[in-house]
Each structure stands twice: as structure tokens, then as C-alpha cells.
């Protein structure tokens, strides 16, 4: 047993961090917000393509299918970085669609998913395809059917629209246009880790068991949790940096216990969530995935809140990065698996074990 990331895994993560620092730093983030506000597309297609070139989306596909042949453990490390950078775009759905929707693996198309309740869908105008259906088969149904038009999203970097069917389920509005199943080609897991492969275990015909979400929904929840962990780690860093810099009453506010302890709790939540996400990535276990999503959502939302509190008034400006973390964290908490759903899944497991 060696739960720590390998050298290769660390290098993979560091590589993406470098790419994002160069291609999506503070200025790019502000520019993206300004663009989104002006009604321009949010996602930088060139960057999306570059991500595709690095193998970001094809990470989980077998090498013979043009993929990288790695597994969820590597994926969560990369998604953590994307979450840290607040990178916009339907990263999770496009990753899940790689191997199913042509062009997804290469970063040539944006794929969104019905991963929200109340008939909402992300990136309604920009997405080229939508992943849908609750069964194991992921369905690419062309552009998401947006009936009632766009909805003003609380997160400026995640546009929302109302899907044609809006009964509040995450089902596909139309299941026509099926082009295959997501990643059912047996992807080898990384050496030595159990169950890291894409949903090879569940055949195209059946989900993992009664009440168990389809594998791609489970993976969607896990990768979203990884984004949340990245955000939680980032808001911890932002809070610590500000607390060390900002002076009030003659000393850095980080010298005051109240601020110090807020920061400590942020780190504790982020680190525990990170561990849960890594563990779920390694085991592929649905109960551990539910735990990971639950803890990561909480770490991200509360982390952003506490970061705001540490920043005081200065965190309340539109220009500050903090509110973008909070809004994105709120949004992600509703994606794939909500807290109530996760808690019920965990509770059910308690009496079964």
C-alpha cells in the first residue's frame, strides 16, 4: 500500500498546473468573466483544444483507442488543478464523453450533460453535444435542447439554460442520436490500484445494482468532487495569503486566532475531502464516491465562505476571485449528486454492511 501519488502522478499534476498558470492565470480569469458578461462565449476553444492535446480528456481511454491509458486516480489529480484555476467549461461531461462523442477526446467539441436538477443544463449555447440518460449508456444528443431559453446563472463563468423537458430530472430530454456507450471498452486501471478503470465493470446493458447510479454518473460525481477539492485548496491559499498580508489593528490579521483558526479549519476540510476523492478514485467504490462528493462540496462551499470572511470587505468586490469560487462551488454541489442523495446512499450502505 502506498496511497501517496507516484512521481509520475505528481509530474502529471505539476504539468497541468504549469499549463494553466501560463494559459489561464488571474488576467485570463478576469477577461473570461468580462467576456461572459458581454455575452461572448465563455470557453476558450483554443485552450480546450490544447487541453485535448495534452491528453486531458483522453486520459482514461485505452492507448489503442488513442487515449492515454490511465485511470481515475490520474484524472482526479488533473481535475483538482482545473478546479484550483477555476477553469470554465463542461470539463467533466466532455471527459466522460471521450470515446463516445467524436472529437471530445481531442478537445475539439464541448460536451455538456444533464447533471443538474430542475431541467437546467450548463453551457447551453456553447456545447456541441449533450450527454444524457440515466442508464449506463451515455447518449450524445446533439446540442442540448433549450426550450425556455437561457437562465441567468449565479456563476458568471457557467452559463445555464433550461432544457426542453424540465420535470426536474436529470434525464435526457431526447435519447435519440445514441452513438455508443461511454468508455465501455475495457480500460486498464493503473498498475496496482483496484477498480480504477472506466466503467468496464458494468456492461452496456445494466447498471451496477439496484439504486446504484450508472458508472458514468458516479464518475461525474467523483470528477466534480475533484474540482471542488481544487477550489477548496485554492481558497485556503487565498485566505492564508491575504491574512498574512492584510494589516488591521497594527498587525497581520493572520496573527489573530479567529482568522488563524478559520484558515486551519479550511485546510482540515480540504485535506480530508482530498483524501476521500483520491480514495474513491482508487477504489471506484460508489459509497466512497458519495462520501467524496459530500465532503468535497462542503469543503469547497465552506472554504469559499470562510475565505470571504477572512477577506472582509475586500472579498466582496466583483474583481476579487473569491466569489467566483463560491458561486462555482454552489453550482457543482448541485451537479451529479446532491448532499441529500449522497447522505442517503451512505446511510443505505451503513445498514447493508
Amino acid at each position: 500500500m502506498d496511497f501517496q501519488p507516484t512521481e509520475e502522478q505528481r509530474a502529471l499534476r505539476a504539468g497541468l498546473r504549469e499549463v494553466l498558470a501560463a494559459r489561464f492565470g488571474q488576467d485570463a480569469l478576469r477577461a473570461a468573466v468580462a467576456a461572459a458578461e458581454a455575452g461572448a462565449p465563455v470557453v476558450d476553444r483554443r485552450l480546450w483544444r490544447e487541453l485535448g492535446d495534452t491528453g486531458f480528456f483522453a486520459l482514461g481511454l485505452p492507448e489503442e483507442a488513442g487515449g492515454v491509458g490511465l485511470g481515475l486516480p490520474e484524472a482526479v489529480l488533473l481535475f483538482e488543478e482545473a478546479g484550483r484555476a477555476l477553469l470554465p467549461g463542461p470539463l467533466v461531461a466532455t471527459w466522460l464523453a471521450a470515446g463516445t462523442v467524436p472529437g471530445a477526446a481531442e478537445g475539439r467539441v464541448l460536451v455538456t450533460a444533464y447533471d443538474l436538477g430542475d431541467g437546467l443544463v450548463t453551457y447551453p449555447a456553447e456545447a456541441d453535444a449533450v450527454l444524457g440518460g440515466s442508464g449506463p449508456a451515455a447518449v450524445a444528443a446533439g446540442r442540448p435542447a433549450v426550450a425556455a431559453g437561457p437562465a441567468a446563472s449565479v456563476d458568471p463563468l457557467t452559463p445555464l439554460g433550461r432544457a426542453a423537458r424540465s420535470e426536474g430530472t436529470a434525464e435526457a430530454p431526447g435519447t435519440a442520436g445514441s452513438v455508443g456507450t461511454a468508455g465501455t471498452a475495457g480500460t486498464p486501471g493503473s498498475a496496482g490500484s483496484a477498480g480504477t478503470a472506466r466503467p468496464a465493470a458494468a456492461g452496456p446493458g445494466g447498471a451496477g445494482g439496484p439504486g446504484e447510479p450508472a458508472p458514468y454518473r458516479r464518475e461525474g460525481a467523483l470528477l466534480t468532487a475533484a474540482l471542488q477539492v481544487g477550489s477548496a485548496l485554492r481558497t485556503t491559499e487565498l485566505a492564508v495569503a491575504y491574512a498574512g498580508r492584510r494589516e488591521q489593528f497594527g498587525r497581520p490579521i493572520g496573527a489573530f486566532q479567529a482568522v488563524k483558526h478559520l484558515c486551519a479549519q479550511m485546510l482540515v476540510r480540504a485535506e480530508l475531502a482530498r483524501t476521500a476523492v483520491y480514495a474513491a478514485a482508487v477504489t471506484g467504490d460508489p459509497v466512497e464516491t458519495a462520501a467524496a462528493k459530500l465532503l468535497a462540496d462542503e469543503a469547497a462551499v465552506r472554504g469559499a465562505r470562510d475565505c470571504l470572511q477572512v477577506h472582509g470587505g475586500m472579498g466582496f468586490t466583483w474583481e476579487a476571485e473569491v466569489h467566483l469560487h463560491l458561486k462555482r462551488a454552489w453550482l457543482r454541489a448541485e451537479q451529479w449528486l446532491t448532499a441529500a442523495e449522497a447522505e442517503e446512499a451512505l446511510a443505505a450502505d451503513l445498514t447493508e454492511s
Partner: protein
């Protein structure tokens, strides 16, 4: 311990209710949030109506109980908020009334009461948030003027204000709390620049005010030179008095609406959510009673300055308000992500509730105040 109102108080309430019904019917349409001149005109018009009906000086001269009734009834009736008149009625006005010369009172108070002049507040600075006394805006005496240079932040209604109650440092060598003075600055003076400040809620409710060698006559100083900190504290103590009465009434209404929304959507069948709302019902009910408690205390002390209950109230209320909007988000589910949808006003209010544990002294500072001033724990830390 008596929660019944006297006959006089009930009569006051009945008259006010009658008048409100008529006055609200004649109200012009509400201007949009970004229309500052429109908002000024709307708020000033409402203040003028209050003035004509004899309710203008309730924040100054009425008994705390009358003020409580006034705030309760106006909120219940859906009357406009104090809006652009906030600083004039609740900060600058009371300060001038308490500390100004007869000439200053004569000059500034009547236009405030009639809704003719709008004030804004120039206290906070980028480097002096909860630590207000760290302010650095400098005022240098030059003949009959102060020449003021610096910048202020979190100023509401700066775009349309006539006057700014300004805290400046007049003696940079004095200890932090000593060398500060209080000035009334005309907002049209040369050298004043207003820049809207967009908040995380996306709106520009506040502004930054930049001061570049602005000349303010010395006669516009209220209180002695370098005595501005004491003068200001008189003002600030009002902020934690009955300032939140209307909001508590509003929160109780919002909570009831939330419960009805949960019933409509079926979320009410979830006992965890239901009990969470039940708990908030207890919370806001008790906060309302705490308001009455604090008002009763103020009523007894002749100065009418609110006691320790103010900090207790603010600590709990700011947290409860955030809890309320978090609960709203749980009721709404994914709809809490949409600004213009069914969750519309709730989502925007949730964003603005985030400032409650920070504005007017962070919760951390409030806890220090409670611990040190009420409980007598040692300073420091």
C-alpha cells in the same frame, strides 16, 4: 415584563396604518436599481411624504417604542425603505443633532427631514476596514479650509449625495483614535471623484470616493478638531439599535414564504428541511423579542443609546440571516442557481446576506466587543 402596547402606542400604530394605506396607494413606480437619480427622487419623495404627515423625525425624537412600531408597520405595509435617506436620518443627522452648533443644526437638519438633501458616509477606507481608526485620509488646515486628500470605500448613494459625513485625520502624530475630525463635505466640491464599486452580487450599490485636495470649510467641522472619533461613536451606536427592526420583520415574512414554497414543491415532506425551517422560526421569533427587549432597555435609559443587547443581536442576526438564505437554497435546489428564475429574489438576497457577518464590524470584531466590554475578558489576542 409586559409586551402589550399602551393605548397611546396603539393609537399611534392605528393612525400610522391608516396613513400608510393611503400614502402607499399614491406611490410612484419603483425605479430600477441602477437608476440613481430615479432612486434619489423616489426615496426623497417618500421622506417628504413622511415629513408632511409628521413622521419625518421619528428616528430622532420619538420614543424607542414608537420607532419600533413605525419600523414594524412600514415594513409590514411594504413601504419604501429609508434608502438614500439612510445616512442623513440615521448617521449624519443624529450626529449633527447631538454635537453640532445651533447654526449647523439649522443648516443641515431641516433639509434632511424634508428629504431635500441626501448624505453619504465617508468612513471606511481600503486599508481601514473593521479597524476604522486606521483611516489615513488627510486633512491639512489652510486658512478657513481643510484640504482633504485620500480615498473612501463602501459609500452608498455617493453618486447622488449632496453631502458626505467624512472622517479625516487632522493630526497624524496623535495616537490613532485622537487625531481624527468629522467634516461635512459637499459632494460637488472640486477634487471629489466617485467611482461605482461593483460587489459580488453584481450590483453597484456602493462606490469608492477619491478625494484630491478637496477644500472643506472649517465651519463644516462638527465637534472639536481631533475629537472626531468620539463624535463618530455617538453616531455608530445608532447602527446597532433599532436599525434592523424592519429586516427582522422582513425575514419572518421571507421564512413564511419559504415554507409555503416548500409546501408547493413537495420539499416540505422532508422532515430534515421542515425542522430546519422550524428552527429558523424559533430563531427569528426570538430575535424579534430581543429587539423589543433592547427597545425596552433603551426606553428606560434616558439617553436612549442601546445597551449591550445590540452586539448580541447583531452577532446572532447576521448569522441567522445567512442561515435563512442557505435554507432557501435548500428549498430551491438547483433553482437556487438561477438569478432570474423562481428563486430570483432569494438568490440575490442570498448573495447580499453574505455581507452581514462583515459589514459594520465583522462577527469576529463583534465577538471581541461582547467578550471584552460585556463579559470583561482581558483585551488583546
Amino acid at each position: 415584563m409586559d409586551l402589550t402596547y399602551t393605548e397611546e402606542e396603539e393609537a399611534f400604530r392605528a393612525r400610522l396604518r391608516d396613513w400608510l394605506a393611503g400614502a402607499l396607494a399614491k406611490l410612484p413606480p419603483k425605479p430600477s436599481p441602477g437608476d440613481w437619480p430615479g432612486r434619489r427622487a423616489y426615496d426623497a419623495g417618500w421622506q417628504r411624504a413622511l415629513y408632511d404627515a409628521g413622521y419625518a423625525d421619528l428616528h430622532w425624537d420619538a420614543s424607542p417604542t414608537q420607532r419600533l412600531i413605525f419600523l414594524e408597520e412600514t415594513e409590514r405595509a411594504g413601504a419604501p425603505y429609508v434608502g438614500a435617506n439612510f445616512v442623513g436620518l440615521l448617521h449624519a443627522g443624529p450626529t449633527i443633532a447631538a454635537e453640532g452648533t445651533p447654526e449647523q443644526r439649522e443648516r443641515w437638519l431641516p433639509p434632511i427631514l424634508r428629504g431635500e438633501e441626501i448624505w453619504c458616509q465617508g468612513f471606511s477606507e481600503p486599508d481601514a476596514g473593521s479597524d476604522l481608526a486606521a483611516l489615513r485620509t488627510r486633512a491639512v488646515r489652510d486658512g478657513d479650509d481643510y484640504v482633504v486628500t485620500g480615498s473612501k470605500i463602501w459609500t452608498s448613494h455617493a453618486e447622488v449625495a449632496d453631502w458626505c459625513e467624512l472622517l479625516v485625520r487632522t493630526d497624524p502624530r496623535a495616537p490613532r483614535h485622537r487625531g481624527i475630525s468629522w467634516l461635512a463635505m459637499p459632494m460637488d466640491a472640486p477634487g471629489v471623484t466617485v467611482r461605482p464599486l461593483r460587489t459580488l452580487a453584481g450590483s453597484a450599490e456602493f462606490a469608492e470616493v477619491f478625494l484630491d485636495e478637496v477644500r472643506v470649510p472649517v465651519r463644516n467641522r462638527v465637534g472639536d478638531e481631533n475629537d472626531g472619533w468620539r463624535v463618530t461613536m455617538v453616531t455608530l451606536s445608532f447602527e446597532r439599535g433599532t436599525a434592523f427592526v424592519g429586516e427582522v420583520v422582513a425575514c419572518r415574512r421571507v421564512l413564511a414564504e419559504l415554507a409555503r414554497a416548500a409546501r408547493r414543491s413537495g420539499r416540505w415532506d422532508d422532515p430534515a428541511l421542515r425542522r430546519r425551517l422550524g428552527r429558523l422560526h424559533a430563531e427569528f421569533g426570538a430575535l424579534w423579542r430581543l429587539t423589543q427587549w433592547n427597545v425596552s432597555e433603551a426606553q428606560r435609559s434616558p439617553g436612549g443609546v442601546p445597551g449591550v443587547g445590540g452586539s448580541v443581536f447583531k452577532l446572532r442576526y447576521s448569522h441567522a440571516r445567512q442561515e435563512l438564505y442557505d435554507a432557501a437554497a435548500e428549498v430551491l435546489g438547483a433553482r437556487a442557481l438561477v438569478l432570474d428564475g423562481e428563486g430570483g429574489p432569494w438568490v440575490a438576497d442570498r448573495l447580499s446576506s453574505l455581507s452581514y457577518t462583515i459589514a459594520a464590524g465583522t462577527s469576529q470584531i463583534q465577538r471581541n466587543i461582547v467578550a471584552e466590554r460585556i463579559l470583561g475578558l482581558p483585551k488583546g489576542g
